[in-house]
Amino acid sequence: MSAARWSYALNQWDTNIDTFVRKREHERALKTVSISGFSAVELTAASFGAWEPLGNPRQIRDLYGSVAAFGEVLRGCALDGISSYVYDPFIGFDVEMGRGHDPLDPSSAGPIAETSEWFAGTVRELGGSVLVVRPVGSAWQTGPLDDSQIEVLANLWDAVGRRTAALGVELALHVDFLSALRLGDGLDRLLAATDADVVGLALDTAELAVAGMDPVAVYRRHASRVRHVQLKDAREVVDEAEAMTPHAEQFVRTEGGRRGIERWFFEPTDEGGLVDFEAFVSALHEHGYAGWIVVESDQSPHPAESTMVSGWYVQKRLAPLLAR
């Protein structure tokens, strides 16, 4: 029996400010996730105050009365809790759509660590075990990371990792397809520079595939560091030149670049995409992966359908690969 557990990311329901606010909307999404065979949900940090009520611990408390009360809602929907929270340090929480801190700025270390601890405490209280973070900005902002930048990042995330570990929460660095870590051997160097005991890797199959990286190969290379998996599919690749587009988050990820790609991410299925899920999950099995596997379909126009179709794929095809 595998120790891995299956969760589903709620980000596909929360596509814009004030689209996922009412408790009834939360409840319907949570029940859909539960009955599709998942035992937990992943939350994503967001900044729009009370209109993003799952966007940070304060908003959870304001809507539900307390984090613990939200935990009761999760269990009432037949879920165990949350698996994880995704936190991007560039997001600030004091004003609507506020800006946070750049991990490459050494003076940001304190605020980022404090905010990480804030989220990690909520992860723990809601039964989860992982804080997923965006470890650095985009490739167009930095170019290839030099040794001094790697050192700044390593110092930051080691410090954060020690603080979350003290709360019983693992820290996992997430590489998105525009990340500076896609350039050269940035990812390998950052992992080598960080403390393996407190800093792990969150491996997102689709983000790596869009970046032109083979998620199976990346997993095999860093299996001992992988603390978290996000499973989704992709159909298009963004090469390095396109990733270097100024403000690529807006002009490539959101607007779709010159090709006008309207949707980068798809739920895991056997319908054909860049990711070979069965090979990937088999690799997890070979290495005895025992963490969360979070299925995602951010950008799905049909959240319930995506959850159910991927739920079928997990139940019938992927979970049996782990149970061998």
Binding site: K31, I35, H302, M308
Partner: protein, 308 residues
């Protein structure tokens, strides 16, 4: 039940658009824990075109992890001069239609073929007792035909149909031979017509061979049942009659319904239906998930608690 719509890059579609869309539909149904599907028998020609035969289509269903097709709903236009249960002159046509239908579906084993036992709203007074008797007579003849294939002929009472209120239902079944004419309870349809679904089930439980479990938030208080082409799409009372069970503000007491089903020893299939779930921003997939969540987390426990 196979009412289903979703949005595609080319606009709204149903699951019969392609084998790929059918695959996704079946996987959604299977993923949340349903065991089987119902369908409409007017899909027959489409089944031949896409799958080759009814048996092939059932194999396709089974490949997605479902057991089988349990029921079909017989769709036909009722017209007094051609095909109407209340009109004896059309009965030979009706019986012949079912000989053809049952032969077409004989490649698989169904539990029920479901019919509307009466024509659409008949007139201000509804069908007369004689007309109810004529309808009961023809369905008994049809039931004899279907039972030769091991299939029940079972009657489903739309809230806008000619046999809709409690008096009409009771009179119809008083005339109908219980060996051949069975009853299919639709919780929401009865509720809209101001018929208590539990009470009518208990009155006729011995001939009940299936259920559509769905909810509603409204009863017909505007004589919507008289509207053309049918009150499900033309009503004044609401643009959306049907909601999945487990919905807030639902009028059907499913916990009471389930206790009754349990206490009467019913062991057949219960079908969950979402008719026009996409109205007013609804979503078939989500309704399917929410209703199955409710069945698993609320109703299964009631059914398992025999005698509680």
């Amino acid at each position: 039940m196979d009412h289903w719509r979703s949005n595609s890059p080319s606009g709204p579609i149903d699951q019969w658009r392609s084998r790929r869309t059918m695959t996704r539909f079946l996987r959604q149904v299977a993923a949340v824990g349903f065991d089987a599907i119902d369908t409409f028998d007017f899909r027959y020609w489409q089944i031949l075109e896409q799958y080759g035969s009814v048996a092939n289509y059932q194999e396709f269903v089974q490949e997605q992890g479902l057991e089988r097709i349990v029921n079909t709903f017989h769709g036909v236009y009722y017209e007094p001069d051609r095909y109407a249960p209340e009109v004896p002159e059309t009965h030979a046509t009706i019986v012949e239609d079912f000989k053809v239908t049952m032969d077409r579906w004989s490649g698989i084993q169904l539990d029920n073929v479901i019919v509307m036992p009466g024509s659409r709203f008949y007139d201000d007074h509804g069908p007369t007792d004689d007309q109810l008797k004529h309808a009961a007579d023809v369905w008994a003849k049809v039931g004899e035909v279907t039972q030769q294939y091991g299939v029940n002929l079972t009657c489903h009472h739309e809230h806008y149909a000619g046999i809709r209120n409690r008096r009409q239902i009771d009179t119809f079944y008083a005339y109908a031979d219980p060996r051949y004419v069975k009853f299919f309870v639709d919780t929401a349809q009865h509720c809209i017509a101001d018929v208590d679904p539990v009470d009518v089930y208990e009155a006729h439980h011995e001939r009940v061979t299936g259920f559509h479990f769905k909810d509603t938030r409204n009863k017909d208080v505007n004589e919507d049942y008289k509207l053309f082409p049918d009150a499900e799409v033309s009503a004044v009372t609401t643009e959306k009659w049907f909601y999945e069970m487990g919905t807030a503000e639902g009028l059907v007491d499913f916990e009471r319904m389930m206790r009754s089903v349990r206490d009467h020893g019913y062991e057949g299939w219960i079908s969950v239906e979402h008719d026009k779930a996409d109205k007013l921003g609804g979503d078939y997939a989500e309704s399917t998930a929410i209703s199955r969540w409710y069945a698993k987390n609320v109703l299964d426990g009631i059914y398992a608690g025999a005698g509680a």
